[in-house]
């Protein structure tokens, strides 16, 4: 949105198109106005406070509702390997492992792609394509998670099973990460889906940070005779690395908390397996699958404790990412107009 200075009708009637017309309102000031002002201000303050209240409420509700599990298992909850609702023994290790591995593999897949797209859009592509590509990448972020899951089950998993996994098993089995039967559904499918879902986040932040790199830095390096690649490496990426890091951490936060798509393709088996072909389970998916069936209080409390762990981790991760991004783009983003 851009505002041009108002043009008076007498000056140039034909040009008076894109001007702001300040709405006409009656001038009636009274003592009521003062009272309403105070009322207005305080009701807005309540709205602003609601943001803080929600965050506090999340922590309060999840902590108090998981007391049972916290007091019974203590720290053992996070290192235990068994998840047995029947005998009431709960350990979250398989889920923590699944969340960590799927998110990190997704990050490793998504980061080069996202940075590549951002560099292409800001540094290389013709101006006419620029808007189209950014728009399409953002469209990826608008697709609901459950639709990704649907696509994952019926398109991605068969693709992995018939083409990608046999190839990986043939050439990279020696690493130990690509062994065992290729189901299609499993840790690898979850990582790939997650990667597709976090690319737009990393790409859009990276694009913002790249745009923030001053133009004269690029010109200076080019003027020294650098090639495009040398220009991007020395002038652009080096200046933007902290911001890109922020984008990556933000993507990590999203990957850790992503639920539906992962639940649909990861296979949902609480086991710690080295091979990426094997089915796994994540913290978010175990809540999604078992929460409404949790029959006794301890079971429910254990699931809520996993939720609490997710909350704490994502809050820390997002806080770090925001601080990094804020420190880079300060002066462009939100700032009071005063």
């Amino acid at each position: 949105m851009r505002f041009k200075p108002p043009v008076f009708a007498s000056q140039d009637a034909s040009r008076a198109v894109q001007t702001i017309e300040v709405p006409r309102i009656e001038l009636r000031s009274s003592r009521m106005g003062k009272v309403l002002d105070v009322l207005f201000r305080y009701s807005l303050l309540i709205c602003a406070l609601s943001v803080l209240a929600i965050m506090a409420l999340f922590f309060y509700e999840l902590t108090s509702r998981s007391q049972l599990s916290i007091s019974k298992f203590g720290f053992r909850f996070f290192t235990g390997n068994t998840w047995d609702p029947v005998s009431g023994d709960f350990g979250a290790m398989p889920f923590i492992y699944g969340t960590l591995v799927s998110s990190l593999v997704a990050l490793a897949l998504a980061t080069p792609l996202a940075v590549g797209v951002a560099v292409f859009v800001t540094e290389l592509c013709p101006r006419s394509l620029r808007g189209l590509i950014s728009f399409t990448v953002e469209l990826l972020a608008a697709i609901p998670s459950v639709v990704y899951g649907l696509w994952g089950i019926f398109v991605l998993a068969p693709l992995l099973r018939t083409y990608v996994e046999p190839w990986l098993a043939k050439y990279l089995a020696w690493t130990g990460f690509f062994t065992g039967p290729a189901y299609g559904i499993g840790m690898l499918a979850a990582s790939v889906i997650l990667a597709i879902m976090i690319v737009p986040i990393i790409a859009s932040i990276t694009r913002e940070v790249l745009i923030a790199v001053p133009q004269n830095q690029r010109e200076a390096v080019l003027a020294l005779g650098a090639t495009r690649w040398e220009m991007v490496r020395m002038a652009v990426l080096r200046n933007a690395r902290a911001g890109i890091m922020g984008g990556i951490i933000l993507g990590l936060g999203r990957a850790i908390g992503e639920t539906m798509a992962v639940t649909m393709v990861i296979g949902n088996r609480p086991e710690v397996a080295k091979s990426l072909f094997a089915p796994g389970y994540t913290m978010a998916s175990v809540i999604a699958n078992e929460f409404s069936e949790a029959s006794d209080d301890l079971y429910l409390s254990a699931l809520i404790e996993i939720g609490l762990a997710l909350l704490i981790v994502t809050v820390i991760v997002n806080a770090c990412a925001r601080l990094l991004i804020w420190s880079i783009t300060r002066g462009q983003g939100a700032r009071t107009h005063a």
């Binding site: 001038l27 509702r65 998670s145 009071t336």
Partner: protein
């Protein structure tokens, strides 16, 4: 620092070509899933979306046909409830941040809103469960609305704030200088000037939560029948897609694709309808 005075050697030339090829390849790889997803949605979904699909209830396993009418209505109800909670609070918070925002308190709210944006939706679901479902002792559309409303607040607050900050200060000063009270200046001058952007922001938040499934799993819970009572368990489009997609029946898979197509269409229609209405509004306003 390499010296650039030498003529461009083959190594540098190759590296440069490799860089261009790699970034083009990355772009293609990123766009491929999008094309594939939309292609499959249309290819698998279009044949199953018909009048029966949007007017009929789901059929039991083994019977052909049936639709998701109750899920579509349920989704609209939950989204309506969510917007009733999320839009006013979000816009209010945004106005406060932009117009009265000074000092540490505002930075804290802004930061919390950004962090809140990254809290997983499943966690929001648990909070809504603890807040509404547990005291009521049953699942309900209302609890799902609370979950979605909570998710809308931080997004709307931040976009509203950004839009209001773009309104030049001179406009505020002009209004205040005429002796117009603060609340009228803010609502009728500043907010109105930025209304297009504010509405777009609210719409984006709406579109974001419209496809959410995780927070509905143990709030709205799902329902095979009609329900128009906000205090009862309700079906929702994303829930129905999820349960059909993980089922073992081909007929249900077909319906899941159709449901996903309808969901995407609903989101796109809602967003573009608001775009059209707001742009027309400002056009007549300027004329």
């Amino acid at each position: 620092m390499p010296s650039f005075t030498r003529p461009l050697g083959p190594a540098r030339r190759l590296k440069n070509i490799g860089f261009v090829v790699a970034s083009v390849l990355a772009s293609v790889l990123v766009l491929a899933p999008l094309v594939s997803i939309f292609g499959y949605l249309v290819y698998k979904g279009v044949g199953s979306v018909n009048l029966a699909f949007v007017t009929h209830l789901p059929k039991p396993v083994g019977e052909e046909g049936g639709g998701m009418a109750n899920a579509i209505v349920g989704s609209l109800m939950i989204l309506g409830l969510g917007s009733l909670i999320g839009v006013p609070l979000g816009i209010g918070a945004g106005i406060y941040l932009a117009e009265f925002g000074r000092g540490r308190f505002v930075t804290l709210v802004r930061f919390t809103a950004d962090v809140l944006n990254g809290v997983p939706s499943i966690v929001v679901g648990i909070a809504a469960y603890a807040l509404v479902v547990l005291p009521q002792h049953h699942f309900s559309a209302l609890s799902a609305g609370v979950a979605l409303g909570i998710m809308m607040i931080p997004t709307i607050a931040r976009t509203t704030e950004e839009m209001l900050l773009m309104v030049p200060n001179t406009i505020r000063e002009a209004a205040l200088g005429l002796g117009i009270s603060q609340w009228r200046t803010t609502l009728q001058v500043t907010l109105r000037t930025a209304s297009k952007g504010v509405i777009t922001g609210a719409m984006l938040a709406f579109a974001r939560v419209a496809g959410e499934t995780a927070p509905l799993l143990f709030t709205a819970f799902g329902n095979q029948f009609w329900n128009l009572d906000p205090n009862q368990p309700t079906s929702a489009l994303p829930l129905q897609i999820f349960s059909y997609a993980i089922s073992p029946f081909d007929e249900w898979h077909r319906q899941a694709w159709a449901g996903a197509l309808v969901l995407i269409i609903l989101i796109v229609v809602a967003v573009s309808a608001v775009r059209v209405v707001t742009s027309r509004g400002t056009m007549t306003h300027n004329a």
